[in-house]
């Protein structure tokens, strides 16, 4: 193992020198206190290993105690929020649909009710109208009957008056002519009545 490492070390060193083409003196100067590759200076290994382990433990503790639980919680919370929001949206959508259904139902109900009310009102009005018409008709009939009676009465009255006026006028005319035979009242009345009939 020891031998192998030395070989590797020498090989790498010479390779580095050749590749770099640096002046040989400088490399040798440095090689005096440290080997060509500081990576192969075994004296520093324990130091590096010690600090590396402390570093790794520190990072591991920072991650497991603080960072990872926090990030995990945030991610879970985000996932939860998204799931909840989707569920809430679904719920709201369902509610909206229910509300729409309720609205449509209420609208249909209202329409039916309004229709019924209109029908009832129309029937009522119709009934009222019919009643009023009947009453008016009856009234008109009664009034026209009464008027007819009065007209008949007036006509009868006027006929009697006309007969009397005619008799008087015929008497007066007969007297003016002076024919004695013709002045008889009964004869005149008979003649007037005779004429009036015709």
């Amino acid at each position: 193992m020891e031998k192998e490492e030395t070989t590797v070390h020498n090989g790498l060193e010479s390779a580095a020198e050749v590749a770099i083409g640096a002046d040989h003196g400088a490399v040798v100067d440095h090689a005096a206190d440290a080997p060509g590759m500081p990576q192969l200076d075994i004296g520093t290994f324990d130091n590096q290993v010690f600090w590396l382990i402390i570093t790794l433990v520190a990072i591991y503790l920072i991650l497991t105690k603080i960072a990872l639980p926090r990030i995990g919680a945030v991610l879970a919370e985000r996932q939860g929020t998204i799931t909840n929001d989707l569920a809430a949206a679904e719920d709201l959508k369902r509610q909206a649909e229910a509300a729409e259904d309720a609205y449509a139902k209420a609208l249909a109900d209202a329409r039916t009710e309004a229709h019924a009310i209109v029908e009832a009102a129309r029937a009522e009005i119709q009934a009222d109208l019919a009643e009023a018409t009947a009453r008016a008709n009856a009234e008109i009939a009664a009034q026209s009957a009464e008027s007819a009676a009065r007209i008949d009465e007036i006509r009868a009255g006027s006929m009697a008056m006309i007969e009397e006026i005619a008799r008087d006028t015929a008497t007066e005319i007969a007297a003016a002519f002076g024919s004695g035979a013709a002045t008889d009242a009964d004869a005149i009345s008979a003649a007037v009545a005779e004429r009036m009939k015709g």
Binding site: D23, T44, Q48, T55
Partner: protein, 283 residues
């Protein structure tokens, strides 16, 4: 509800701006330090010097407990991760702010990777994998700040990461499946004659895993940084012609940003693959 969310969003935005300013200020200071530090004259390029670990408070001995420049950048990685994952998410908003979005993005990205690659029963190990991913990602990106120290460029660091995965996965495989875990090496779909040979190959490849796992990460990061430093050295030495290496640096820097993210991703997804083998060893 709405105004609350907006307020917290604005608060986070302000906070993010402050963090950005602080990071830029650190970058500028480190850049100036880096520029004045190196490159005295001529073509003396020390591309590997950026990887040297030195004590922060004087002295030359690096004991196991010494606070070094590596320690600082380990600490900054922790601070940056805490800033993103804790400060960024402190609003706990259902509608996230920018910082929280990034934290959630990282969380969701790695969690989905673990779930897709290793299966649902691998999710208990998600914090462990997420730790590796964030550490590598932030160490790589912090290492791209000019003048910084890249912790993931050191094989010691990546080897610990890789062997931790290797041992965890191996122990887990035996704990979960008992001797049945060995069926990972027994390719039951192959002809019987070939199975012993395949078993040897499988076992070798299994034990090579941590090596390739660690060297892939450290090698990529180290190579990129070394190349950047070489180009920077050319730029320092070429005078007016240094436009060419500077353009090269810009291009390589963009590539390195990509490599930083990709190597963090590759390391993590390989960890998931190994974990899947441990949980479901049957081919």
């Amino acid at each position: 509800m709405a105004s609350e969310t907006t307020n917290s969003g604005q608060g986070n935005k302000g906070n993010g701006r402050i963090i950005a300013y602080v990071l830029i200020a650190i970058a500028v200071v480190l850049f100036i330090l880096g520029v004045t530090d190196d490159y005295e004259s001529g073509l003396s390029i020390h591309p590997m010097d950026q990887f040297i670990i030195s004590p922060l408070f004087g002295g030359t001995d690096v004991h196991w407990y010494t606070v070094t420049n590596a320690t600082v950048w380990f600490g900054l990685a922790v601070a940056a991760i805490a800033a993103l994952m804790v400060l960024g998410t402190r609003g706990r908003a259902v509608v996230p702010s920018r910082g929280q979005s990034m934290a959630e993005l990282a969380y969701g990205f790695v969690r989905k990777m673990v779930e897709d690659v290793a299966g649902k029963d691998a999710l208990p190990y998600f914090p462990y994998i997420f730790t590796l991913f964030l550490f590598i990602l932030f160490a790589n990106f912090l290492g791209l700040i000019p003048g910084s120290f890249t912790t993931t460029s050191h094989i010691a660091v990546t080897a610990i990461l890789a062997f931790a995965v290797f041992f965890t996965v191996t122990i887990l495989g035996f704990v979960k499946n008992g001797a049945g875990f060995l069926s990972l090496f027994w390719v039951s779909s192959a002809p019987l004659v070939l199975r012993p040979i395949l078993a040897i190959i499988e076992i070798i490849s299994y034990f090579v895993r941590p090596v390739s796992h660690s060297i892939r990460l450290a090698g990529n990061v180290m190579a990129g940084h070394a190349v950047l430093k070489v180009f920077a050295g050319f730029a320092g030495a070429l005078g007016a012609a240094s436009v060419a290496p500077i353009i090269g640096i810009i291009a390589i820097y963009g590539l390195e940003v990509l490599v930083s993210a990709i190597q963090a991703y590759v390391f993590t997804i390989l960890t998931c693959v190994y974990l899947k083998d441990a949980l479901h060893p049957h081919h």
